[in-house]
């Protein structure tokens, strides 16, 4: 490197531009909320918002690893559904079963991720097809297993993670467990992407041949990305199971919402570009947007239309700015 060339300020700016657009969009939405409903910024209601947003942010983080390595994971929505349905049936209201079943859910998520990863890498099936097949398999399997309607029930202990928090904290009142889980997952994701693993994963997504010829274990990296996605989906399922009731609709469409969030955050489909912080901010932005729509009394039915317009507009603006 020639001496005149190294300008630290330049690269700091370069890094910011990656998540710049999503930050700008988020800031605008937050300002609109500030005008419309200042109470949104009371710590308790802010935390409640984060609690609500946690599952999608976690799913987006998981999806990020798969996308940045050059793949897709279309199975996460059905995995969330499967996890919740399985948990309800196995726990069946028995508190003693709660923690063993949570462990089992984590294991199941990892297993599905492993299967996705191995089929995609060892059998060279495009991940779009692998995870589409996995989606059909998971949906079919839970329906078959439960005979068409979810059975069993979750325990109060299980719902703890999704619903409760550490009480009596001054100023915040309650610190939801979901927010703690989110913080933990976000930290893991950021640390992973800052590590050598993360940089090599980006290279694998950017140019798998070059990465392999530099000594990277490309297939292993991709499998690990799927494992992370499966694991994070399992964690999101634990939270979502706690929030609401047990139904086949728990995870419906979440794969697309998560991919939307990731792309909104400036991550490029096809791999090699984008940051995990951007991906998670993308998910937060979507949730803020949904909150805003509620505030303005837009019918829930129109939510997806707005989501569709926003994603098209955001990506289009991102494109034209870059060129």
């Amino acid at each position: 490197m020639t001496a005149e060339a190294t300008l630290p300020s330049r690269w700091r700016f370069g890094r910011l531009t990656g998540i710049g657009p999503i930050l700008a969009l988020l800031a605008v939405l937050l300002m609109v909320i500030a005008i419309r409903q200042p109470s949104f910024y009371d710590p308790p209601s802010l935390l409640a918002f984060l609690k609500r947003a946690a599952p999608l942010v976690i799913l987006a983080a998981g999806q990020y690893f798969v996308i940045v390595a050059g793949d897709f994971d279309l199975s996460v929505g059905s995995l969330v559904t499967a996890e919740v349905v399985i948990a309800a049936r196995l726990i069946d209201g028995d508190p003693a079963m709660t923690w063993p079943v949570v462990a089992l859910m984590i294991g199941f998520g990892l297993m599905v991720g492993l299967a996705n990863g191995l089929i995609t890498t060892a059998l060279r099936v495009p991940s779009f097809i692998t995870t589409l097949g996995m989606y059909l398999i998971l949906v079919g399997a839970v329906y078959t297993w439960t005979g068409g309607s979810p059975r069993g029930a979750l325990t109060e202990e299980f719902r703890l993670l999704g619903r409760r928090g550490i009480e009596g904290i001054p100023f915040l009142q309650q610190l939801p467990y979901a927010v703690l889980v989110l913080a933990g997952i976000a930290t893991i994701a950021v640390v992973l992407m800052r590590s050598d693993f993360g940089k090599v994963l980006l290279a694998v997504g950017g140019n798998p041949r070059a990465a392999a010829l530099s000594g990277a274990r490309v297939n292993l990296m991709r499998v690990i990305a799927f494992l992370i996605s499966g694991l994070f989906a399992a964690v999101a399922a634990v939270l979502l199971g706690g929030f609401g009731g047990v139904s086949f609709q728990v995870g419906a469409g979440l794969e697309f919402t998560a991919i939307t969030a990731v792309v909104l955050g400036g991550v490029v489909l096809g791999g090699g570009r984008g940051s995990v912080i951007g991906a998670m901010l993308g998910a937060v932005t979507l949730e803020v947007l949904f909150t805003l729509l509620n505030l303005f009394g837009v019918s829930g039915a129109l939510k997806s239309a707005v989501q569709g317009l926003i994603i098209i507009a955001a990506v289009a603006i991102g494109r034209t700015r870059r060129n």
Binding site: L74, I119, L123, R124, V125, P126, F128, I129, T130, L132, G133, M134, Y135, L136, I137, L138, V139, G140, A141, Y143, T144, G147, G148, F256, I259, T260, V263, L269, G270, S299, G300, A301, L302, K303, S304, A305, V306, Q307, G308, L309, I311, I312, V315, A316, R319, T320
Partner: protein, 317 residues
């Protein structure tokens, strides 16, 4: 050659029909009885028409995730425009074709002019339509006249009209892809956009047209479903899983997801295979949900076999 890949799906279909037929026979039924054949062909028709359209998009290196919602939307446009009156059938059909072509145009323009990834663009358009449907409709609406219902129910011998419609769409598509300049250009754009552009192919226009064709096919499927159901249904497309299943059928037929390689014949085979599996499961009265599991497995396995063959071929070359 792509021929080998396309043949694979027919071998799988023959095997499924033979083994399935024997199993059903042992179970005391008949896979090729009049009623089961009819229902098998009818099932194939709807998905088939959508999948043929999807083939164009995928061959050009794109894909369309909005088809499910286009089907729902057009079924409603058809039924509401007709509103039970015979005289309104033709205007309704025209309206459906115009709207679906328009949606295809939007998809194509978003992808080519705004350079949005096809996955995101068509997902976004699909979501917009979904929002419109959920906002405006709680359940079935409109009604089609009896004359129009004949499309869904009439048949010649055991062959339903709808199946003939699909065959017609398939034959036209086959000729278009093999024997027209546009068809050659679709495969060129899917094979390598830059090469196609440098050779003087108007690549944007080709890609936009494939999306118009894809949406038109979804519109035709919407018409067919309206005639089957007698009314427009806001959730028929999404619940039928037409978006992802049409892509699955195309890939099952040996067309490469990345584009540039494959064809309509394989897609028809892929659709037939999915319909045959359905039919066997219905006849054996196996848990209907379980067939989803089998579908998923078959799709993954088929593509794995294609990938394996390709690797063998490359190893030999």
């Amino acid at each position: 050659m792509s021929g080998m890949r396309e043949r694979g799906v027919w071998v799988a279909l023959a095997a499924t029909l033979t083994i399935g037929g024997l199993l059903v026979y042992a179970d005391g039924g008949a896979l090729f009885g009049q009623s089961s054949t009819v229902s098998m062909l009818q099932r194939a028709a709807g998905l088939g028409i959508v999948a043929i359209g999807q083939t164009f998009a995928i061959l050009a290196g794109s894909l369309d995730l909005s088809v499910g919602f286009v089907i729902s939307l057009t079924s409603l446009i058809a039924a509401e425009t007709m509103a039970g009156s015979n005289g309104m059938v033709a205007p309704a059909i025209l309206a459906v074709l115009a709207v679906s072509a328009g949606i295809g145009l939007v998809n194509g323009l978003l992808i080519t002019k705004l350079r949005i990834n096809a996955f995101i663009a068509t997902l976004g358009v699909g979501l917009v339509i979904k929002g419109y449907l959920e906002h405006g409709y709680a359940g079935p609406a409109g009604s089609v006249p009896a004359s129009f219902q004949r499309l869904g129910y009439d048949r010649i011998g055991p062959i339903p009209m709808s199946f003939l419609l699909m065959v017609a769409v398939a034959v036209v598509s086959w000729v278009v892809l093999k024997r027209t300049r546009f068809g050659h250009h679709v495969l060129a754009v899917g094979g390598d956009v830059d090469v196609a552009r440098l050779s003087g192919v108007r690549t944007d226009r080709v890609l936009i047209r494939t999306h118009v064709i894809c949406s038109l096919c979804a519109g035709i499927a919407g018409l067919y479903l309206a005639s089957r159901l007698g009314a427009g249904a806001p959730r028929v497309g999404a619940e039928g899983g037409y978006d992802l299943e049409s892509i699955a059928a195309v890939v099952l037929g040996g067309t490469v997801l990345a584009g540039g390689r494959g064809g309509v014949a394989g897609t028809v085979g892929g659709v037939a295979l999915l319909a045959a599996i359905d039919s066997v499961f219905n006849q054996l009265a196996i848990d209907p949900f379980f067939k989803q599991v089998v579908r998923g497995t078959v799709i993954i396995a088929a593509v794995a076999v294609y990938a394996l063959r390709l690797r063998r071929k490359e190893a030999l070359a």
